[in-house]
């Protein structure tokens, strides 16, 4: 099995399930391929970074009072 295919299976396994044959091939390949083992780890790290990065809220992000007032005035027009 090629490295390209094995990295595909790594991603597939996280989303869909692998067949028994695919699981076996992947395990065998990873046992003897260090770049693909690294890829597998990097893939997990990227998942972690994306999840954490896009959920990280910043206390200093605030909307200006002016913009808030604009929103309120738009809402008041809808309400009445």
């Amino acid at each position: 099995m090629s490295c390209k295919k094995s990295t595909e299976l790594i991603e597939k396994s996280k989303i869909a399930s692998l067949s028994l044959k695919e699981k076996l091939y992947l395990r065998l390949h990873l046992a003897m391929c260090s770049p693909c083992t690294k890829y597998s780890k990097l893939s997990d790290q990227i998942d972690t970074l994306i999840k954490a990065g896009f959920n990280k809220e910043n206390e200093t992000d605030v909307i200006s009072e002016k913009r808030k007032k604009e929103i309120i005035s738009i809402l008041n027009q809808i309400e009445h």
Partner: protein
């Protein structure tokens, strides 16, 4: 909490804005990394909320309710972005990572971060990281964001973005290879 003392009937649009604008805004900025768009998304969220305020049953808090509206707005935003750019379908398989026989190219062998816990505190890294994600083809970055950011079930992502199950993990695969190369060039080599 002061806000929970207000009866459902008496809470006004102005109250909602004063109480929750910044919570919603921070949530939106975290997900979109774009302040201007976040302001608009927050405004749109309140517009939906006000028109539906009479259907709010108090089964959740106002904040949870508003966040759920905002989540939908963010999904709409990803989807719309994708539709606008669907013409540049870079769905071809041209990744730099592998040679014709599917082995790793020497320059593109994967690396591993020493640690990921503190990386996001480094603003230089986050800049590179978000730029790399933005550099993905639109459909791909929408898939990634819906998958990891606004945790959506795979089935729903496929339905909303009109792709198949197989497309989904293929896109994730290609996106990760691209991110690997982008981070390798712009971060690993310089640090």
């Amino acid at each position: 909490m002061a806000n929970s003392l207000k009866t459902l009937e008496s809470i006004t649009a102005t109250d909602l804005v004063n109480l929750y604008t910044n919570d919603l805004y921070r949530f939106a900025v975290a997900k979109t990394k774009n302040k201007e768009i976040s302001e608009d998304l927050v405004q749109d969220t309140f517009i939906v909320a006000v028109t539906k305020l009479n259907t709010f049953r108090g089964e959740s808090t106002h904040k949870t309710w508003l966040i759920s509206i905002l989540r939908n707005k963010i999904s709409d935003y990803y989807r719309k972005k994708t539709r606008e750019n669907i013409s540049d379908k870079e769905m071809d398989d041209q990744t730099l990572s592998f040679n014709a026989s599917g082995s790793w190219n020497k320059e593109n062998i994967p690396f591993v971060f020493e640690e990921t816990e503190h990386l996001l505190d480094n603003t230089q890294f986050t800049q590179v990281f978000y730029d790399c994600i933005d550099g993905l083809p639109q459909l791909w970055s929408s898939v990634i964001k819906m998958k990891y950011v606004n945790p959506t079930k795979s089935k729903e992502i496929c339905k909303e973005l009109n792709i198949t199950d197989t497309n989904l993990w293929q896109i994730v695969h290609r996106s990760k290879l691209k991110l690997k190369d982008c981070l390798g060039t712009n971060w690993i080599k310089n640090n």
